[in-house]
Every structure is written in structure tokens, then in C-alpha cells.
Symmetry: C2
Subunit: 231 residues, 2 copies
Amino acid sequence: MTIAIVGGTGPEGSGLALRWARAGETVIIGSRDAKRAAEAAEKLLQEGGRTAGVSDRHVSGAENIAACRSADIVVLTVPFEVHAEMLKHLKPALRPGQILVDATVPLAASVGGRATRTLGVWQGSAAQQAAELVPDGVAVVAAFHNTSAHVLLGDGPVDCDVIVCSDDKDAAKRVRALARKIPGVRALDGGKLENARIVEQITALLIGFNIRHKGHGGVRITGLPSEAYDV
Amino acid sequence: MTIAIVGGTGPEGSGLALRWARAGETVIIGSRDAKRAAEAAEKLLQEGGRTAGVSDRHVSGAENIAACRSADIVVLTVPFEVHAEMLKHLKPALRPGQILVDATVPLAASVGGRATRTLGVWQGSAAQQAAELVPDGVAVVAAFHNTSAHVLLGDGPVDCDVIVCSDDKDAAKRVRALARKIPGVRALDGGKLENARIVEQITALLIGFNIRHKGHGGVRITGLPSEAYDV
């Protein structure tokens, strides 16, 4: 299984790439610029080299389109201001059977507003906008909105649950399994893709906590039976 | 300090009343019907009698208007379909210096939709609607949306953080202190009242988890320095 991370040179994308590389997954860091992508992959190899499981067989960089063509799972971690444009750019490279994981949060910062506020997206959420823009047969799964890039880029376990929303149950299950490869993460079935509108907004709330308390906030869901975190 | 709970005969209101009564607070359960309020207070005294701190000096029932007139803090735990109407009804009984704590979630169930979906509220959130409807000088604080009624009505600690949002910093601080009287609860500064639009929606997400997994979901915010939970 190959994972392409579009926006993989940014902090959230790099953090996810690092964690999956450490777990032995094959990761392609995507960027508009193939040279920047290769540099980011090189940097990740050096940093990931601190732990086992990372080799240059597993991590590479490529222009976004090339990265998508080689991938089974495409993870989108781009600022919301380029979300729709990027999906239109990627469309020819996406094919039925692929999974598009969308971690995008429609922060008001995208239009010069605050990172503690969100924009209203016509479709309801960034993930639902993505669902409108991918080719038929590509499963859109919303996940990884609430995991702190700073924490992902560190060495410790990630004290955060990943809430996974999708209309494709099989794709959601695969993404939950991928989330669980990150130490500390518990993955939860967040229901249909439309619920991404809530999960995306939680990030704006966490950014507020981070600003007020100089932290790296995450979220845990309590009070559910243990199987909720296992299936 | 006297706490009136409007909608105090419902599960969320009863649960909060029980917890504060156990903590030795003076609680008035409000209802449209004074007789029902008195019965709920009696029931709470019997249940609360299992633990120390509850006496009939501390717990009583009253019609909502009378309950509000006697209170320093008014907690609103009503279904969203009666939220605006109730606030208009209470307006003559509210006075400057009081705190109105709003725990209302604008679930789509209010208009025959699903409890896993929310309604768009013109002002942004139920709490902001409340702020428009209270007399000048009444501080509106949004809190207690995410605490499970089932868990509150039990005996164990409540495994949930209370995110408190308000434009009145002093009132918010008092409500955080009140939240911390519930065993297990950590209270957090959620910033301005407008952020209630996110905190309210989290409840719809938790209801989805509860339906899928037969749980009583709550939320914890991780990754913040310890003082975030203390001030």
C-alpha cells in the first residue's frame, strides 16, 4: 500500500508522513515542486532515521500528480484556500478504487480571518467539497483534522483520537487502521462524511486553546465501550 | 450562591442539580409546573441522600420565574425548540449581575430531524441567541453541552471536560469553578461566546458515537499545560 501526501511539505503532512514512515508504510511526499518534495523526503529520512522502520525504499518525493498516480491512498493536507483548486488539479490523476483522505479545515485564516474561526462551506465541510470534486469511484474519507502537527513531528505518542467520517464504510475502516499506526492514536468511526463539518470545526476550537495556553491541543472521546476504538 | 436550573426536571438539568446538590450548593429546580418541580426536588433529595452534602435546605423546586428571581446563576437546560420562547418568558425575572448559563444544543431533532445533526442558528449558536434575548447586564455563559445526562445522574466521576465560552471573563471564571465541583470534570476557557457554536455541535457528534456504540460519550481536551485546567 502506497500513501501519497499532497501538501506533504507542510507541517501536518510532514508529521503524518514521518509517523507512517516510522510504521514501515510506503510514503510519497507530494508537492507542486518535485525538487521541494524530494528535499522534504530526504529531511524525513534523516529525522525518521532516529527510529526503526524507515528506509529510502519507503519514502520518496514527487510532484503531486505523479505522487497521486502511484498511490492507493491520497492524503490531502493543504490550506483551505487551495483546496478546491488542488482537487481540480489532481482530478486527472485520481482513479476509481483510490481513497482520498481529506484533513483540510476551512479556517477563516484562509481569507485573512482568524484561525480560531471557520468559513461556511456551501457543501457543509471541506471534505464534502472534496467529495464533489473527485472522480466517481474515489472514496472520500475525512480524518486527521485534530492531530497537532507539532506533536506528529515529535517523537512521543500522539495524545489524540482520530475521528474518521465517510460514506464508504470499507474505506473508513482502512483509514482507521492507518490512523492506529500512529502511536497513541485511537481511531473512531465518526459516521457519515457530513459529520466532517463538526470534526473540522473542532480544530478551530483547539487552535484557540493553543493560543490561550501555549499548548498543542488534541481531543479524546470518552465514555464509549472499548470496541468503539478497535473496529 | 443559589443556582436555578430551568428545565431542571429533564435528564441533563436533573443530573447537574444532583451533582451540585451533592457538592453542597443551593439548587432550585425550575419547571413550568411548580408541582413537578417540587417532585423533582424531592426525588433528587432521595437520590442525593446516598451521598453527603445534600439536605432539603439546599434543594427545592419552583416555577421557572420564581426560581430565576431567587437565583444568582440561572442554568438553562431546555430543548432547543423552546429555547427562545423560554428566554422571553424568563426575561422579566432576570436582572443585571445574574449569570445565565446556557447548555442548549440546537439539535435538528428539535424540528423532527436527527439528533446527530444541528440546525443553523441565525446568531451562530443557541448561546448567542440567548445573549440577544436576555436583559442588559445579564452575562451569558455557554457550558455543559457535552456532559452526558446519564453519567451526571450516576454516582461515578464524570469523564468529560466542560468547555466554557463567554464574553464576560469573570462570569466564565465563576462557571468554570462551578463545573469543577462535579467530580471528574475539568473546566476549560473556551474563549468568546461565539465559540459556543463549535462546542454545541460536538454534542451532535457525541450522540452519533452513543448511537453507534451504545455509549455515553464525553470529550477531553489533551495537550494543554496543567494551568489551562486550573484558572
